[in-house]
């Protein structure tokens, strides 16, 4: 069975893609078949993923590759391949499981949409591409799927295409991530040049194996940083994070699947996948490229957490939270805690999908309202949503012992603490934990506690098809911690390829108390600051945020996302648009003019020979007034119709030939 699954790995991405094609060919009215097809594709992918997962359990550091030749150019072959190792297998299961929950949720959420069929086609396509991405054993194949998930993200963000804001957000996402992708592309070319292969593992000659790495030497830093550009774009790291909050224009299941659980984590996955490139030649696990990763991650995590505090849109808060958590994962990878980062990625996939679906349920219940200040009191009206949401919130904040997020976050903090280069990231990350707890508390208070406000009066619990996935994900978010605890760090060991040992004594560690105190501080601070906000009655509908009341300038700064969008608008976008206009102008006038200048050699005769003549002067004036008339018009000036002009041209031509003859000797 082992080899069977290895040789058929390609089926995992192929089946959802095929389902997508099949759905695309359905007519708009066949909603049921579309949903069924999509779910079948996803169930198949999940089943295959589990089948693929099993062999990786049997041995430590299991790795199987299936390489094949894509095409030959000249007498060279371009080879691609799929790889199955703990990293890929864990990602596969998480993606297909979360994906399945979200597919089912979408059936309820999108029930009223007229493009229901198209939605499932896109979603299946995304799922296929994402599964392919994690399985890729070649940077090129990874890049291909990378671009395809980008395409799916573009299509799904802009799914409600009649909304100009959705279209603009889709464009922004596409272009911003593509900026990063260009760096990735360049890094890939460089890697290909140095190592001569793009296969990660190829029986010892792959680019991540020692022989391949040895060819890189100093260029590894640059290659790693260029590839990291791609990860920055996809994972919304500063300064390319601007697209991710806007991407919330897409339907909520999309936000949950793509912009929280899976695709945005692809950047983290990529760094983990090519980690040998980053850590090549490091001392104590510190290299320049990893240092860059750490600082980018720290900046992103803190900045996004701060911005999240001042947002009012329920999905935007979660989006910034995602950005912040991705920053945290990057920090973890940067300081050397690859396993910790991936564990957080997996756990985050579950609880962030849960939170987004919960928010989708809230939005669904509140007739499409996104503003948390107009909600309130949903605790009673939507009990299932509330409970699951609270589970997600506590997992995200990192409440110890029972929630998966807590254990992974501790793991990351522990890794950060021992980073040899600087302790600043550690303390900044501790601050990040407080902030996370704070903004999640604020959100919960606004949405679920206090009195009902404008949007939440007629709220109702969502149908079963939507609450079931919520419950499933909540269960995952809790029980996932079983394999995460220090007592039995099975996942950690699995990812690192070590045997796991059970030891209850390790459950109690100083870090647990640190994080307990920090989370408690964050939640307590949140309750203290926002205690009144939730209780505000509907007349005084909470337009003024307590923080805004206390620190109006700071709040404005955060609420406006630190004016980063505006800054880009004024600089990068203005500049590139100006460059575009300039190129156009140059083309129309300068280059064309230059070439017309060549053509005007003939015209010079016309001007010269008729200079005393009224005709010539007239033509000159005409020419200057209508300076932009075409070459044809100008050239025809040379055809003055006068024999003498032609004769003069002949004479000059003869002279030119004479000179040429002399020059040639």
């Amino acid at each position: 069975m082992n080899s069977g699954i290895i040789t058929n790995l390609w089926l995992i991405p192929a089946v959802p893609c095929a389902a997508s094609l099949a759905i695309l060919s359905l007519s708009n009215a066949r909603r049921k078949s579309a949903a069924v097809l999509a779910v079948i594709g996803q169930v198949f992918a999940l089943g295959m993923s589990i089948f693929a997962f099993l062999p990786t359990l049997q041995t430590n550091s299991f790795r199987a590759v299936q390489n094949f030749t894509w095409f030959t150019f000249g007498d060279q072959a371009l080879r691609l391949g799929f790889v199955l190792d703990p990293l890929a297998a864990a990602m596969l299961v998480m993606i297909s499981l979360v994906g399945l929950c979200i597919f089912i949720f979408s059936i309820g959420y999108m029930a009223g949409d007229k493009n229901f069929v198209r939605f499932f086609a896109y979603l299946s396509f995304f799922s296929g591409a994402m599964l392919g991405l994690v399985l890729a054993n070649s940077l090129l194949l990874l890049f291909i799927f990378w671009e395809l998930v980008g395409l799916a993200s573009y299509l799904l963000i802009g799914f409600w295409i009649e909304r100009p804001s959705a279209a603009a957000a889709a464009k922004k996402a596409f272009i911003t991530t593509r900026i990063g992708d260009m760096g990735f592309f360049l890094g890939m070319l460089w890697l290909y040049k140095r190592s001569g292969t793009l296969l990660f593992y190829d029986g010892g000659s792959g680019c991540l194996e020692s022989a391949g790495l040895a060819t890189l030497r100093a260029s590894a830093t640059f290659i790693a940083l260029l590839i990291f550009c791609g990860a920055m774009g996809k994972s919304g790291q500063f300064p390319l994070h601007v697209w991710l909050p806007d991407a919330m224009e897409g339907p909520t299941p999309v936000s949950a699947l793509i912009h929280a659980a899976t695709m945005v984590a692809a950047g983290v996955f990529l760094v983990a996948r090519v980690y040998p490139l980053f850590s090549l030649g490091g001392i104590n696990g510190v290299t320049s490229s990893l240092t860059v990763v750490v600082w980018i991650g720290v900046t992103t995590a803190l900045m996004a957490a701060l911005i999240a505090i001042a947002q009012a849109d329920i999905k935007r808060i979660l989006a910034y939270s995602t950005v912040s958590q991705l920053g945290l994962m990057m920090v973890s990878l940067g300081v050397g805690g690859v396993a910790a980062g991936i564990m957080h990625l997996l756990a985050h996939g579950f609880f962030k999908a849960l939170l987004f679906l919960g928010s989708g349920s809230v939005i669904h219940g509140c007739q499409g309202e996104h503003d948390i200040r107009k909600m309130g009191g949903l605790r009673r009206l939507m009990p299932v949503t509330f409970v699951t949401y609270a589970v997600g919130m506590m997992a995200l904040s990192g409440v110890p012992f029972f929630f998966s997020g807590a254990w992974t976050k501790e793991e990351i903090l522990r890794a950060t603490e021992h980073w040899p280069r600087s302790h600043a990231p550690y303390f900044l990350m501790l601050a990040g934990v407080v902030l996370t707890a704070l903004y999640m508390t604020r959100q919960i208070i606004y949405v679920f506690f206090g009195n009902s406000r404008v949007a939440s009066e007629r709220a109702h619990e969502s149908p079963r098809v939507m609450t079931m996935p919520l419950i499933a994900l909540a269960v995952c978010a809790i029980f996932f911690s079983v394999v995460l605890t220090p007592a039995w760090p099975w996942l950690h060991a699995y990812l690192r390829g070590e045997p796991a040992q059970f030891d209850v004594a390790r459950l109690i560690q100083p870090m647990v108390f640190v994080s307990l105190v920090l989370v408690g501080a964050g939640i307590g601070l949140g309750i203290w600051v926002y205690r009144k906000a939730g209780a505000q009655d509907r007349q005084r509908s909470a337009e003024i945020d307590p923080l805004e009341y206390a620190q109006p300038a700071l709040f404005r700064f955060l609420a406006n996302k630190m004016w980063i969008d505006e800054l880009y608008g004024r600089t990068v976008i203005t500049f590139s648009w100006a460059a575009a206009r300039l190129s156009d102008w140059m083309d129309r006038y300068f280059w064309d003019g230059l070439v017309r200048g060549f053509g005007a050699v003939g015209r010079v005769f016309a001007m010269l020979t008729t200079s005393v003549d009224e005709h010539g002067i007239n033509a000159g004036v005409d020419e200057t007034t209508a300076g932009t008339r075409g070459l044809g018009r100008l050239m025809s000036k040379a055809h003055s119709g006068q024999i003498q002009t032609y004769l003069a041209a002949l004479a000059v031509g003869m002279l030119a030939l004479l000179l040429l003859y002399a020059w040639l000797g």
């Binding site: 005769f605 020979t609 200079s611 003069a648 002399a662």
Partner: protein, 160 residues
């Protein structure tokens, strides 16, 4: 070959040619044109091509110059006001002259003196014309006839 004669002839020819090109009055220019061709004919004599020189005199001075004069007379109303002189022509002409002279002077193989040759008699020219060049001669005859008829047709008054 006589150097003094060459100098005299060339001065005469070039001066006359310049006059023909620049004199304002058309009639004067036409007369200078005739003189210039006398000079060129003299060159031909100097070079030992007497027959060509004579042909030149007959054709140009006897026929072309007369034709020019007739044309001037026929288009009388227009000739006196020969307006405008284009200086760019001068520039181009001077440039061409400089270019040619430079090329000629640069080519070292041209500074040779004339070898002694057998005098070119009319008999030899006639033989050549009637043997190796008989077809070109016929063509030229045809061309001249065509030109004659063409000129006549062109210049005849249209009958309404």
């Amino acid at each position: 070959m006589n150097g003094a004669a060459f100098i005299v002839i060339s001065i005469l020819t070039l001066a006359a040619a310049l006059a023909a090109a620049t004199l304002r009055k058309l009639m004067h220019a036409a007369l200078s044109f005739a003189v210039a061709f006398v000079g060129i004919a003299a060159f031909f004599f100097l070079l030992g091509a007497e027959f060509v020189g004579l042909a030149l005199v007959f054709i140009y001075i006897g026929a072309v110059a007369v034709l020019i004069v007739f044309t001037i007379l026929l288009t009388r109303r227009d000739i006196e006001k020969d307006r405008g002189f284009n200086w760019s022509g001068v520039i181009i002409a001077v440039a061409v002259f400089c270019g040619l002279t430079w090329a000629i002077l640069k080519t070292a193989s041209l500074s040779i003196v004339a070898p002694h040759i057998r005098a070119l008699t009319v008999k030899r020219i006639g033989e050549a014309l009637m043997t190796s060049y008989v077809w070109p001669l016929q063509c030229i005859g045809l061309l001249l006839t065509a030109a004659l008829i063409g000129a006549l047709v062109l210049a005849m008054e249209e009958k309404r």
